[in-house]
């Protein structure tokens, strides 16, 4: 983890609600791992005061680039959206624990929704580079919000997209699709991000079928590095309820540890 100034290379609208930002930060790129995040100072003023945690969307080691794909939602992301090529972005990271892959795994199923899609893209890249096949079920409000699908395909995933506007994104439908993929592709592990309902559903399948899983969690943060205990959530670790920090004990947790969200 480092505190550094990255240089904005591009920051472009990719849909009416999302922007894609690429940052030149060669001093940090080698340390970055899928599932980790940066704590970004979005403004030089006291409004917004706090940093914003932002998961890594793309790591381009050769070019020294870190990319973020973000939904413009609150004050912090509005400030980020106003940054231009050449601007300096104050970044603190990479923070937290990323996804882990076991060497004996051959195929992974990824289920993601909304802003969670961006977090899963570098996981697919990492898995492909280790010779692991990936199948992704992506869910969002509209087709326009399924922004990572092309990059995920490029990284090597077989992708299915579901949307609320097409009325095929309800949890029961996703559950059936998940079970089909598990049966037909002999899935070794499950990964998810972005939806409480999908996480709960996937946890059920994970326990029932004894397939391990990992989930990337989101929470409002203070320090981002484990000091303030503001981003704590309850988890079930070995039968005991424990309060863990999303920033430093996560943001990636074992699916079986997640409590009913």
């Amino acid at each position: 983890m480092k505190l550094l100034q990255g240089t904005v290379l591009s920051n472009t609208w990719v849909s009416p609600r999302y922007k894609h930002m690429s940052i030149h930060a060669p001093e940090i790129v080698e340390e970055c791992k899928a599932g980790q995040f940066f704590h970004l100072k979005c403004s030089d003023s006291f409004s917004p005061l706090l940093r914003r945690p932002m998961s890594i969307y793309k790591i381009v080691k050769k070019e020294g680039e870190i990319h973020f794909l973000y939904l413009i939602k609150g004050e912090g992301t509005k400030c980020l959206a106003n940054m231009h090529q050449g601007d300096q972005l104050n970044m603190f990271g990479p923070l937290g624990n990323g996804f882990t892959l076991q060497t004996e795994w051959h195929s992974l199923l990824i289920v993601a929704r909304g802003v969670g899609l961006a977090t899963m893209a570098p996981l697919i890249d990492m898995a492909t580079k280790q010779g692991i096949a990936t199948y992704a079920i992506l869910s969002a409000r509209t087709k326009g919000d399924i922004l990572s699908a092309d990059y995920m395909k490029e990284c090597g995933a077989e992708v299915v997209s579901l949307t609320d506007e097409d009325r095929d994104s309800d949890v029961e439908h996703v559950r059936k699709m998940v079970e089909n993929v598990i049966d037909s592709k002999s899935i070794d592990a499950l990964f998810t991000c972005g939806s409480k309902r999908l996480t709960n559903m996937l946890k059920g399948i994970s326990l029932q079928r004894k397939i391990p899983g990992q989930v990337a969690m989101e929470e409002n943060m203070g320090c981002g590095s484990g000091m303030c205990f503001c981003c704590v959530k309850p988890f079930n670790r070995g039968g005991e309820i424990v309060n863990l920090r999303v920033c430093s004990e996560g943001p990636v947790f074992q699916l079986e540890e997640v409590m009913e969200l």
């Binding site: 203070g222 320090c223 704590v232 430093s248």
Partner: protein, 309 residues
Amino acid sequence: MKVSIGGVSMKNPVMPASGTFAEETAQIFDLSVLGALVTKSVTKYPRMGNRGPRIAETIAGMINAVGIQSKGSQVIRETSIPFYQQFNSPLIVSISADTADEFVDLAQELSVPGVAALEINISCPNLEDDGRSYAMDPTQTYRVVDYIRKSTQLPLYAKLTPNTNAITEVAVAAEAAGADAVVVANTMLSMVIDVETRKPKVGNIMGGLSGPCTKPVILRMVYQVYKKVGIPIIGCGGICSAEDAIEYMIAGASAVQVGTYNFVNPIGMVDIIQGMKEYAVRHRISSLSDLVGSVCVDEQTRIDKAAAY
């Protein structure tokens, strides 16, 4: 830059506020640059803390309702205290308890080599009883500080709450009971509501406000307390720059604690120390202690105003 706070020598007057600093900070900069190290409040037994969300941003500030999640005093004694020995800065352990007896137990358990002073958190507004705390009341403050004073030889810093209409009386009571310094102050009891859902934005309903928005209020309290007590004051409330720290010293603080700003700028305390050195050079001040309480107030105005409050 050197200061002495209740018998603890510090190389400079800058230290972290409890709860905004931990072992992890050592990965960001060399902790030996700090005037002192202050732990997160320790309780006797492990505590889960409050349910989430525990943090909500406000204009130029934030509200937290962590509720003192603690691993218990034994873990702190076995892990944190030895860890901090590698740094050349005195360690101040913050202790928190729901009863005076538990405060005494903690003070005794943590009066061990490696601990330079105890900060007694008699002000945390997040605990039960609608956020009430010892430091809301001079009599309660005297009782608890006096009781702890008799149980340890270590210097005691009493951390006061701004959630009282009697901060000067509370500070006087802490001094009379044997506190070696007062920390002015903890967070301000506060609330934010999401108007879409009509739900409070923190799980505990209320929380403690911190950050730059609190600075003028706490600075005023430091000024008032300075007029009434002889022990050093550690100013704590919204410090985000060397100028803010200097302002606190001019109001009457002998040292300062930086809290929320550590989240905004993880190396903020390093920048503040550097900025204070530059200020001292620029103003030809040989010792920062010369600044303490040096606010230029017309004597008659001071007496009239102080009486009015």
